[in-house]
Subunit: 409 residues, 2 copies
Amino acid sequence: MSVNLSAPVAADLLAINGVRIGITEAGVRKANRKDVTVFLLDEGASVAGVFTQNRFCAAPVQVSREHLLAGKGIRAMVINTGNANAGTGAAGLAHARATCDALAKELGLTAEQILPFSTGVIMEELPVDRIVAALPKAIAAAQSDSWAMAAEGIMTTDTLPKAFSRSVTIGGKTVSVTGISKGAGMIRPNMATMLGFMATDAAIAPELLQPLVKELADGSFNRVTIDGDTSTNDSFVLMATHQAGNAQISTLSSAEGQQLKAALLDVAQKLAQAIVRDGEGATKFITMKVEGGKTEEECRLVAYAIAHSPLVKTAFFASDPNLGRILAAVGYAGIADLDQTRIDLYLDEVHVAVNGGRNPEYKEEDGQRVMKQQEITVRVLLGRGEAAQTVWTCDFSHEYVTINADYRS
Amino acid sequence: MSVNLSAPVAADLLAINGVRIGITEAGVRKANRKDVTVFLLDEGASVAGVFTQNRFCAAPVQVSREHLLAGKGIRAMVINTGNANAGTGAAGLAHARATCDALAKELGLTAEQILPFSTGVIMEELPVDRIVAALPKAIAAAQSDSWAMAAEGIMTTDTLPKAFSRSVTIGGKTVSVTGISKGAGMIRPNMATMLGFMATDAAIAPELLQPLVKELADGSFNRVTIDGDTSTNDSFVLMATHQAGNAQISTLSSAEGQQLKAALLDVAQKLAQAIVRDGEGATKFITMKVEGGKTEEECRLVAYAIAHSPLVKTAFFASDPNLGRILAAVGYAGIADLDQTRIDLYLDEVHVAVNGGRNPEYKEEDGQRVMKQQEITVRVLLGRGEAAQTVWTCDFSHEYVTINADYRS
């Protein structure tokens, strides 16, 4: 099941000069499955990343943070599925380091030039030997047009691979952006999603990459939720190879900086929304807009309270306009001085509640009509100020329970 | 479905001198259903209550708060099911007041001596005329031995009525405590449960009742969660009729105060746990103990993060010891300086994780054995200090989705 999402067409995805990707089968958890992916970057590329805020963060997240801080210039990444290498203590850290050591040796680099990523089951030992053994095959397979295959190679409970591209003309030169993401459950990113990788060939001052990746995550992956569970392994990485031939972008506020940012944000939002569209058991894609708040933070609180409520999510699944559940979630979101008599609620263009009560002109059949759609916008007006925020989520179905009751078996 | 819970036997419930209860059918939402209950209290009784912290609190909650503050001496309560009278704006408030006016007139009291309670669907108009019309019949039916029937009369999606009694000897006199509760979904009380009513015949200084009801709620209803949704209508009321003949208890810290409190807390915890045992779709009853925290508040944060995780709850449903999901929830609970290398995890007596990693001596079959039980204790050791907290919850099953996708139909 997925909501208005289809697999990417390989030919639609733009190669990024300076990025090659190799995918192989290592048998991490199951045989005959693409489960190890390597990214190889040309010398001179810049890389920045944001990672999960979960205090139980996985070993590869800890190592990736260290290696980015070391500042030796990242030249390769290795991603395995089937095992998250989280909740694995000191042994897990050693395994993540061993993977980097092995890849560095194959490529003639130092370990600090490698970023490791893992996704899959938590609290089981990483089969590091099988991963290391598969690296030469992955390197040998590396091509610049393998983005579609990479999107498949990083899937876990995803039903579809997720990849998007777009190009933009900056200073007369064509700049390309391509990204992939994965994730379908344990999704309430807090800095980044399960896994997201984006690359551009734009020339851009390397020191701009870290603030840029943070801003992109806040505008995309940090606005989605499926089940409210923040993963131990969330990572979102932005690569720039600087090979497009445009004059180097030196500030994000310049016209060129804004053009590049808009193109990147477009791809990042599509990748983030694709995770929701492919949410475990999702049958609907729901946009939660909260407006009229005093601060963006309180709007986000309200949007997430609605988006996490199992009662709201099951009502969407049933196409049942049981909309009082939305008001209840607004009420417990945590705004201490909220005045319920100022709240309005819309379902698409249907005005459901006015001043905290049912709109006398609201008809059940209008709510019912919108609830039956596959894409629904919920708009809450708080009547407190000018701030607004948007969050994307999905409904909560029998299929979610089935998937998560059976995941390991 | 419910977990180790059976309907109360009417003969086991102790009548409380000074409390009579009448139940009738008003046809609030459906015909042929006991949906209106009145409590009648002798002159001189004391009443205190705690209510939902949801800012979208229902009209009857607003009116009950007002009437308790007025201090005229509460002499009656009226409870309807089938309609929550929440999200109903000014009309809803008028309906709650009209219900009190009508009951006061029947009983020769003033409206401020009445507390109204409603539970059921949100954002639909209260059929106040049908409720008012049913009041004389409820009053005529009032008896002191109707607690079991009252427990039935306040049910909504509950599969079983919930009522408990106990007696305690205080200063040579037998003091009785009886209580009822209802609730099965939209349960994450924040001050009190959906609806809980307890009465004792103990003589106790009336000014002690309010701190006592707060303390009881914190030790019982505020420690349970089913789906994390805080209702608009949560209310928990404690009545004391002072007719047991014991010397008046004038401090809670006295030996007699402690005896009474222990008896009340015992009944309050059984009522709160009964709500979890009857949680929508529940197949397991889970005790979340978090120990070794710096503060009780951070222990509660962790316990609730685990208890609300749909991934943890579906793993319990499946009896799948996918215990990394518990560690992930500990990690995102919100303790900023949590050190994952100090965390231990137990499932009953099975030591699953040690210092943040899998216990080398942990065997999957031991975890599996505990996960298959109907009652499970999860114990998390934070290794930060001496504070501890306990929260009770249930698992998350297909049945929960079915119930909440179909609730209104």
